[in-house]
């Protein structure tokens, strides 16, 4: 691994002021642009997990894909151990970059090729990233990986085709594939949301073991409970913006941003009687463009003030590891 010469410094995958725009049409000189991700900054460390929570369309997956270099940032940087991964002069090839950052997808049925065996899916990454190994060593490594993710008997599993496995087993194979590369960071894009409730915990615990082994996770979810269970830190996203982030317990137990409060109040609770009104105006989720101003949540926020519609609130530090982007907590503007 390329970190072996500096083992004392913990590895970091940083995102700074990441902006991702998509062209959605328009003419050559007047293109219409969708701002999917706006000024997102965070960092991942090995052996820790960061949960990204938000509703559909909040830009969670887009951030993950940018971290995998599937999308190029429109502005801002992704840095691995201080090196900009997209800069032409410093960037590694996708193959080298893959050795550090891998992704697990939401849909276990779509993430394995139906015409290939499980062995093929694990053999390729092992071969690509360890070109020196001979056939027996590759096979041994594949079997070891299958055992590592808790699938047994390993030999028989290797010979199976994806359709012969259950959703949870497929997701375990997908995790093994990320491990096969030897990645230090795994971006898990809603890895359990399409699985049966009964097998979700098994997958989460497997990822937890891997985290203890020193892999850094970005855990994308819309399930706040699992975010708190699995991740040390949590960031809440709304329409491409990070609105509140910090220590997972603090963010989920003591949410400050009106949107986080709304999101948490939307979690169904056992024993709650009657319907609870959601603490927000009924409004459309805005479509952001580079020209949009103000807080993206202003249109639905019950506490929105005039300034919320005209300017993006600055970051306010509420506690040691608790940040929020909302004018309600901004000292300078408080009267």
């Amino acid at each position: 691994m390329n970190m072996s010469d500096t083992p004392k410094v913990p590895s970091k995958l940083e995102v700074e002021d990441l902006v991702i725009d998509f062209r959605t049409g328009g003419s050559l000189f007047n293109p219409s642009i969708l701002r999917a991700v706006s000024e997102v900054s965070f960092e991942l460390t090995t052996g820790q997990a960061l949960a990204i929570v938000g509703e559909s369309g909040s830009g969670k997956s887009t951030v993950a894909r940018a971290l995998c270099r599937l999308y190029t940032p429109s502005a801002g940087q992704v840095r691995l151990d201080g090196v900009d991964v997209n800069a032409a002069e410093t960037s590694a090839s996708q193959r080298d970059y893959a050795r550090d950052v891998q992704m697990i997808f939401q849909d276990p049925f779509g993430s394995l090729n139906p015409v290939h065996t499980i062995r093929h899916h694990l053999k390729r990454p092992v071969k690509i990233h360890n070109p020196g190994l001979n056939a027996d060593e590759v096979e041994a490594r594949v079997i070891e990986l299958i055992e590592r993710v808790g699938l047994s008997p390993a030999k028989q599993t290797a010979d199976k085709f994806p359709y012969e496995l259950s959703g949870g087993q497929k997701q375990r194979v997908a995790i093994a594939r990320a491990l096969a590369v030897g990645a230090r960071y795994i971006l898990a894009d809603e890895p359990i949301s399409m699985l049966d409730v009964s097998i979700r915990l098994g997958i989460l615990n497997l990822m937890d073991d891997m985290k203890r082994d020193g892999i850094g996770f970005m855990y994308i979810t819309h399930d706040i409970a699992t975010a708190r269970y699995f991740a040390e830190r949590t960031a809440v996203m709304y329409v491409g913006h990070m609105v509140e982030w910090g220590d997972s317990d603090t963010v989920t137990q003591n949410p400050q941003h009106p949107y986080t409060q709304l999101l948490i109040s939307a979690v169904p609770e056992a024993g709650r009687s009657g319907r609870r009104e959601l603490k927000a105006k009924k409004g459309d989720i805005p479509v952001r463009t580079p020209e949009s101003v103000g807080c993206p949540f202003a249109g639905r926020c019950l506490q929105a003030r005039e300034e919320c519609h005209t300017a993006m609130p600055p970051v306010t530090k509420l506690a040691e590891d608790h940040f929020v982007r909302c004018f309600l907590f901004d000292q300078d503007t408080e009267n």
């Binding site: 193959r95 893959a98 997808f105 993430s111 090729n113 139906p114 390729r124």
Partner: protein, 306 residues
Amino acid sequence: MKTLKRYAAGLIRFYRGNPAGIIGSSIVALILVACLAAPVLTDKDPNKRVARGHQPPSAELVFGSTRAGKDIYTQVLYGGRVSLMVAFSAAAVTTVIALAVGVSSGYFGGRIDETLMAVTNVMLVFPQLPLLIILAAFLGQVGPLVIAMILGLTSWPWGARVMRSQTLALRKKEFITAAEVMGESRWRIIVVEIIPNLISLVAGMFVGTSLYAIGAQAGLEFLGLGDPTVVSWGTMLYWAQSSAAFLVGAWWDFVVPGTVIALVGGGLALINISIDQVSNPKLRTGRYLKIWRRMKAETEAKRREA
């Protein structure tokens, strides 16, 4: 090895409860084997005069003789070699071009896609038969190999579009993204991850194009655009026509090659239909009708008992 076994199992599954597939494949296989085994099945030469002109079928001349006194049975066997070779090589050329153009276009997208699709669309709007006639006429009386190339190089655009649309659908699948994130090369993604998923489509296209090529080749040769000295099913029809076989009542002269073309065409069409049914089970009728009838009979029997 498991992959091989799986293909064999897939083949058995394909033919089980699929009479159209079995009948079609048997017809085509039978004729193909007969043509390949021509030297064993006949001791005559297709180009030699062996009897008087227009002899009706008899024990000696199974399918009779042509106006020039050549044995039609021998000509059908040897001519089939040429006709089937042209059909299958035209189909192979078409399938390879369609696969290459369609998959690259769908996978790479952007400018490559635009360019390739522009070419494809231009090819697509050419009226096929007039184009073939003009090309063949322009090149003179062309041999079977040139006919195969003309057919192969003009009939790929439709297939390329189908391949492209399938590739576009596959490209969005997460296993392709996973391979990209893993650092797999683009060509390996195309060859190892995408193309195996298109196998049924490729098979269907190959059979469909063979069917088209058999007819188109016979048509071109019948019109006299092929080389009439080469024995093939198309030139047999050409000679039957030019020797006024119909007027003199020598029906065997055109019925025999016509029937063989129809048989091969029908067999290929049956294979094509059964491939369609496998890839789109909604088109299946027979097997499910049978199951439904049995279920109906069972429920009625139960009702009567009760």
